[in-house]
Subunit: 338 residues, 2 copies
């Protein structure tokens, strides 16, 4: 987070006054007070232009508590229906894929519906007669707005290609609704080429033909799975940025790395801040600072090139000795300021 | 299918009398009669020792009709709760992964519950006010039996390692039940090392460290997604076999390739029958013909080696001119008979 703010400060024009407020949320807070996201803080967060979120989670907190009580609570409270996750294979990163395919796509993941709504329950919990359900909730309202956003993004890109990923041969109710809305909205975008893939087949193409994708629109859970896989094939989770966007502007959008909090190396100076810094670029783009966003992305590309030669970051790129979290932040801040 | 039967016939000992019955099910039947799986045929299928299923599906049939009316109907009616999907990187196949990691794991996918139960619905279908739900149903009964099966399989393998894959930080009801049962049953298998991964993280390891997996147990939908990805990284979907197993023996188990029906090349002699032939090996192993199963698997390995040198199959392995469906079947039948 410190490196993200460092780069943000360095890249902003002199006449832009940056006001920041820090919120102490996450595992430490929960241990100290039992709170995840009190109402007062949620209210306060509403007043900002944007939120930069540090990765959350710690094995000392029961699974689900922070995810649902903090991260998902923010996504739902601020109606972040566009979960934007770009995937680009920078020229100088390692990829597990042979042949280094040309990868440059964006996943538009729905962020406020599907199996993430917390709908479900458990009966006779802990007994041999237990039944547990999880309900995926999907509305035409929710699907149409994210599908439309994805068409807009596809239409603005040179290749103008949009792929819907779902599993409509099994999840027929939600799947058919998604497909029908996808086809209907598509009529308004005659220049966009469309495509449909089942989620299982999509994972195959992610590793065998990732260059076929331009923009992908998908459900909350499928998007979660696909974007981790996308990060893995494009240089690793250490580089994957994301935006939780409310395109209406009614609430602040929120930007965060796709990766987790890596509690095992917290404070050791080994964490790679690049994904957070790329999330700052997405934040700037969202607020209209396109030039500054691009400058950060170019700096990261140049920095990776340098690492590749002799100075690898903790994500393992290149040879030579790894730089610390701070050193990577400094290097990027210097590049964007220059 | 013809090649599968050819190899099955060739490998069986002389004194074993093979009785087969063919069922005409799938797209053609549906077009002709509107039927997917009539009760009489379901009853008749029950009487066999095992079922070999040709890949189903055709774009001329609405998505979901054959999947739910035929394939899933069989899996549910015959209580195929262990959907067994081995992944092995044969020495002589192409993989999209750089570095050719040593991959040899088995996914035990739950086959009768989760989001596959057909539970869900749609309200105000086709209107802007539509709501569609999909319900994942999970029972302690269903989870425990598949988890136990997976422990048995892990315990019988040299590495004795079992990984549970779920998403219990979001799908807390089903996820916590899976995790609790996984931990509880694990106490009976002190020699098995266990591990838990969220499904999104699992996809990362499938491409960056697939050698870490030995046996994986997971939910129906996550298993669907992970096994397509597994097939992609281990030589492609043209080699992936699967068994839908009812370990109690109350109903016949069913074996099928993981891939689809490839309607675009049906009848052209271009389809690679290897996945079906490897499914025959799983069928034989299930019925106690371990030696014959191993012989088929060795024949496939040897055949891939030959293709790699000069005779590629349609899945694109090796160089030279592709062999026809028939030629591959003949080559494998000759090897197993010899
Ligand atoms: C931490 C978890 C709740 C979250 C999600 O599943 O959305 C994460 O995996 C992500 O992709 O942002
Ligand atoms: C065809 C489809 C219903 C099926 C599934 O989702 O189980 C297939 O993808 C599979 O993996 O066997």
């Amino acid at each position: 987070m410190a490196q993200g703010l460092k780069v943000l400060t360095a890249v902003l024009p002199q006449d832009v006054k940056l006001e920041t407020q820090e919120y102490d949320l996450g595992a430490r807070r929960w241990h100290a007070t039992g709170e995840t996201l009190p109402d007062a803080e949620l209210e306060s967060l509403k007043r900002h232009d944007a939120i930069l979120l540090g990765a959350i989670g710690d094995p000392s907190v029961p699974s689900g508590v922070l995810e649902r009580g903090l991260l998902l609570k923010l996504r739902f409270a601020f109606d972040h229906f566009v979960n934007l996750r770009p995937s680009k294979l920078f020229p100088n990163t390692t990829t597990p894929l042979a042949g280094r395919p040309d990868i440059d796509f964006v996943v538009v993941r729905e962020g406020t519906e599907g199996p993430y709504t917390g709908n479900g329950g458990s009966l006779r919990t802990g007994t041999p007669a237990e039944v547990a359900t999880e309900v995926s909730l999907n509305t035409a309202y929710g699907v149409e707005r994210v599908v439309r956003d994805a068409y807009e993004r596809a239409n603005a890109r040179p290749r103008k290609k949009l792929t819907l990923v779902h599993k409509n041969n099994v999840l027929v109710y939600a799947g058919h609704m998604w497909k029908n809305i996808f086809d209907k909205v598509g009529q308004e975008y005659p220049e966009v080429t469309t495509d449909y893939l089942h989620v299982d087949a999509a994972t195959i193409f992610f590793v065998t033909q990732p260059e076929r994708f331009d923009v992908i629109v998908t459900d909350n859970l499928f998007g979660d799975i696909l974007t981790d896989l996308a990060a893995a094939v494009t240089g690793g989770i250490g580089l994957a940025a994301s935006g939780n966007i409310n395109p209406t502007g009614d609430f602040p959008s929120m930007f965060e790395p796709v990766h987790g909090s890596a509690p095992d190396i917290a404070g050791t100076g080994k964490a790679d801040p690049t994904a957070t810094i790329l999330s700052v670029a997405l934040l700037l783009r969202h607020l209209g600072y396109e030039q500054q966003a691009a400058r950060i992305e170019e700096a990261v590309a140049a920095d990776l090139e340098a690492r590749w030669g002799h100075l690898p970051g903790p994500s393992g790129q290149g040879g030579g000795s790894p730089r610390s979290t701070d050193e990577i932040g400094d290097a990027l801040a210097a590049r964007v300021a220059g």
